[in-house]
Amino acid sequence: MADFDVPKFREIPIIPKLQEGTMEHSKPYVAKADFQQPLGYPGELLDNWKEVAIDKMGELLGKYRSFQVFLDACVKCGACTDKCHYYLGTTDPKNMPVGRQDLLRKVYRRYFTFAGKYFPKLVGAQDLTEEVLDDWYSYFHQCSQCRRCSVFCPYGIDTAEISMAAREIMDAVGKGQKYCNEIIGKVFKVGNNLGLPQPALEDTLEGIEEDVEEETGVKVRYPLDEKGAEVLLVTPSADFFAEPHVDGLIGYGKVFHEAGISWTLSSHASEAANFGMFIGSYENMKRVSMRIREAALDLGVKRIIFGECGHAWRVAYSFLNTLAGPFDFLDPNYPVPQHICEFTHDLIKQGKLNLDKSRNDDMTLTYHDSCNVARASRMGDTPGGQFTIPRDIIKASCNNFYDMSADTVYDSTYCCGGGGGLLTDDLMELRVKGALPRMEALKKVVDEHGVTHMAAICAICKSQFAKVMPYYGFTLDQIVSVHQLVSNALILTGQKSDDDEDEGDED
């Protein structure tokens, strides 16, 4: 199936011995000039790239406290060395969080610290050379910016911050990554990552309306660009057509329908994802975010709600107010923005949704905490709501639910292996290997509890799992959306009786 070895499940999950260089060859395609220039980056590697890179590093050191403090503070204690799924799956020491940071730290020390300038060998400082740049390109595109390392580091050193800075430096010298930069370009041009224009969206949504009406007998609306709606829903564009994402979108529509709240999607902001974060670019992230503000103003909505997407929720929850705020023109009674899970959860608490759990009895579920939701955001009023709210929703929609092992869920969750701008076919080997720890944890609940499906609230997780699960002996339809479960269980007011459609319901 693959031209690389798929890692075997470890009988006892011992920490693997390191093997140098196993992933040195893994590199995503470099962005061509057409994808670099629209984002304000040079089209190809500059002649004086070294100076530009060092200058850029200096600039970032003055702009980001995280970058400055993290480069200084690491004591090389080793606590993070076994925490990255990419290390566990590839055994390449440069995929240990500190190993990854050191690729940049050694250059930082050489050019910016006393010890590195005068005693480079002593402190492991190194000149910036082409080999170093190659290593950067390789290994800073083997970090999904999942922050698992930051949970376990005594100083909270977040390798994601280092990766973002490294990618920004590489963009600045003209060595950007095709996948991310092309996508950001599409968002600016068309409005979403997939490049779906307004008419295509309209078509898709009409199709969904028809399907839902046929299935339930209820006319549930999936509106686009509707002025004066109460809620603007911003969701990842995968929700418009890919499985299982679209089942989630169907679910959001049904929930809004039952709540009796008018809502709309926007073709201008038809994308929740913000790849500006992956490349560490404040400016691009801000520009992508501004679409949402513009759409909200243009449509005159009162609330903004985000669909199921992991890093999009991080940017929305943690950064949107900073990047595109203040949102004083929206209804102050609701947080800006809200997550669709917060919205659905509130309705469930108020008893407004008629959920028949038995309609999901063909599945036994587990839940994958998406890294950016788990470690970089919150839901609800209390810390940790991002763990309990989705689980509450699942449990309200299904009878059979089992969590995976404690060291692989909540804030210890493992990344799916495809986040952070790595969800591209040219990184397939990395994606498969990086999924190992999650697949092992899944296998365990499959064997012990007969789990059949794993639910997630992230477009990247869903796409990634659909692609890599077959490598590990699962099937691609074993990954489901949380709102797909809600959609299955929800009996709409006036819905056709159950018997009419029971046969068609099998998975």
Partner: protein, 242 residues
């Protein structure tokens, strides 16, 4: 004054200045560099009080490290808290009138030296034996441990084997603090101990020992989780809005 006394006086003035100015400059830099985005590692406290508690648990109990790796935690924690006791015990060499509590902790501080050495040896053993930690170690990481062990052992020599003239040592440091240099006894253990301590002070601001001030400035640990409630904007980011 003897040559040794003059040299050590100069050395300690220099070391103290490098340490204070160096660490001060670093802290100033950390403090003035903005954190443009909210990036606490969640779940994170939603109030400032909560953040103070989180930081307290990190600094006093090494909470994240505890979750992460019990071996590093146990050796690291023993080392640091022994070091703390040892440092507190040393306060008496800088005071005319020694505070009561400093007198009371003397016996503990004395034996904490063993804790320090045990902790450091444990950490060093990991650095040599565990392949992953060996891979990330530069020579300076080994030397730092050697330096601290050297300080510990030479100190213990004086406490437990051959006492130095501690009254004169105290007079030496009090003299330095009052800018009227005094003679320093010249037994080898003391001279080695003091030389290494001066070296530690000098490397502090240019080494990984910056983790001590750094931890307090780590945005993933010191930020309040309230981005929706309160708009967070760095000065350079505000410029972009114009």
């Amino acid at each position: 004054m003897s040559f040794v006394s003059i040299a050590y006086t100069a050395l300690f003035y220099a070391a103290a200045i490098v340490f204070l100015v160096g660490v001060g400059a670093r802290i100033y830099r950390y403090a003035k560099t903005p954190a443009p985005l909210k990036i606490p590692t969640t779940p994170a406290p939603t109030t400032t009080g909560g953040v103070v508690l989180r930081m307290f648990r990190e600094v006093v109990f090494f909470q994240s490290l505890f979750r992460s790796n019990k071996w590093i935690w146990i050796f690291g924690w023993i080392f640091h808290f022994s070091l703390l006791l040892v440092l507190l015990r040393h306060i008496r060499y800088f005071q005319d009138q020694v505070w009561l509590w400093v007198t009371l902790i003397q016996p503990f501080g004395k034996y904490a030296a063993f804790g320090m050495i045990i902790g450091l040896l444990g950490l060093w053993a990991r650095r040599i034996l565990v392949d992953r930690v060996r891979y990330i170690s530069a020579p300076s990481d080994h030397l730092m441990l050697a330096l601290l062990i050297g300080i510990g052992l030479s100190g213990m020599m004086m406490t437990f084997v051959s006492h130095t003239d501690i009254v004169s040592v105290k007079a030496f440091f009090l003299g330095m603090m009052r800018f009227s240099p005094q003679e320093l006894p010249t037994d080898p253990a003391l001279l080695i101990h003091l030389f290494l301590v001066a070296l530690l002070l000098i490397v502090f601001p240019i080494s990984k020992l910056l983790h001590a001030p750094g931890v307090f400035f780590s945005p993933t640990r010191n930020q309040v989780d309230n981005p929706r409630e309160k708009r967070h904007l760095a000065p350079w980011a505000a410029e972009l809005e114009k």
